[in-house]
Subunit: 237 residues, 2 copies
DNA sequence: GATTGACACCTTGTGTATAATTTAGCAAGG
DNA sequence: CCTTGCTAAATTATACACAAGGTGTCAATC
């Protein structure tokens, strides 16, 4: 009886986390590992293994897994455990088609309620993106900021959160692939077109360009996925 | 050591559930209790209480709660437990605005790929709905079937699932309020207009009516909420 | 070669201990 | 006398160790 208590106290004294703090954001840690590619799509997520990895017991892991299932990143089958969601081409297309509805809807509001300050921030950010094409890590951060400025103050936080979750899921894939030169040019053009439309308070045009922007991203990602799968097939015949 | 094992064996012999089977659908049970109004919006969801209620231990309850959080029905604050999501007017408006994007998108596909059999099923169903206006319980079931026929075979299952989840959340509210006579007429008319548009393979018209249908539902629900809150204020001055 | 049985792994549920929060009760000050 | 602050106890969430059942795999036998 006393033995267990002593072990726990010892662990706390050793300076390890009590687990309590970690538990709140364990799903964030796991999600990060998934998004960053340290856990491959389709990989089994064994509770004991993850517990060891993050220095907790299996129970918080199970809860985090259920949480991530809600976000669509993890799939749990009864008595068979959890896996990282395998992302198919169909899935990508489906998600992007929803985004093609949501993002134009969100940007329409911004066109009418953007402050001069925000527009200026967008321009500065986009100029930075133009100049730092080489730095990937940085691009994704800047791109996220670009979207956050546009969507952050929108009244429909449910829609914003939906868009954010979709972006997280897709980021599992996008970060793995390079961005083609043609796509870079398109992104640049589209971003500037959106900024222009916002400046002119032309909601229809902004929505139109945004939809085009989303569809372009979708097509580019699917092309990259196909190219990668061809490469894989060639290397493993 | 042996004592616990004996207890468990005894319990199984007594014919109680091993718990294993329940766990798969515990979140369904809790969701049902929430949707059916047995658990009020904003009510605290204490794990011990729920565990007793469903005859399990606290752990499966926690997992179910995390799952439901992913569905947006439950809100969990760290170290403070879970609550049934309090549904505000803003929230309703936000969800319906998303639905006003998704549902027209979904119906467009159906217009092009509906079979004669499906269209006939819609007509039969709607005639039944027209004739049984009085029966609420039945109406919601029939209405669900009506939508399931239109959305069930859509290729974008992600969008379908999103729509389904939103419907579940809104149903927590809608079932509490009556449907006004005016709204009944509108529903009937809109449903028939949608069926007509589908028959003519007029996707634009079907989408237009569907959007109107969603916005009408939104407005009606919000009016009912306001009326209810006024009543509440009068009865508790 | 196919089927069946046994074994190992893993998920799932339970009980208990620990840590956090909330609430109440009480005291001191306005 | 009421309000405000703190302290302690009850309440509740959280984490951990354990037990049991299910799933998949591998080998042996028909």
């Amino acid at each position: 009886m006393g033995g267990r208590a002593v072990r726990i106290v010892k662990r706390v004294q050793d300076g390890e986390s009590t687990g309590q703090d970690r538990g709140q954001c364990l799903h964030d840690l796991i999600r990060e590992d998934i998004v960053e590619g340290r856990l491959e799509p389709g990989a089994r997520l064994k509770t004991a293994e993850l517990a060891k990895r993050y220095g907790t017991s299996t129970n918080p892991v199970r809860e985090a897994l259920h949480h991530l299932q809600g976000e669509g990143i993890v799939i749990i089958s009864p008595n068979r455990g959890a896996r990282v969601r395998p992302i198919s081409e169909d899935f990508v297309r489906n998600i992007y088609e929803i985004r093609a509805l949501i993002e134009p809807y969100l940007v329409r509001w911004f066109v009418n309620y953007a402050t001069d300050r925000e527009i200026e921030a967008l321009e500065i950010l986009q100029r930075d993106i133009d100049e730092n094409r080489s730095d990937y890590q940085w691009y994704w951060q800047a791109n996220e900021q670009f979207h956050n400025i546009i969507y952050g103050r929108h009244y429909n936080q449910e829609a914003v959160e939906l868009e954010f979750q979709q972006r997280k899921v897709l980021h599992i894939l996008t970060r793995r692939y390079a961005i083609s030169r043609a796509r870079w040019q398109a992104i640049t053009r589209e971003h500037w077109d959106i900024i222009e439309a916002i400046k002119r308070h032309d909601a229809d045009e902004a929505a139109r360009v945004m939809e085009q922007h989303v569809r372009g991203a979708c097509q580019h990602l699917i092309e990259q996925m196909r190219a990668a799968s061809v490469n894989k097939a060639l290397h493993r015949p």
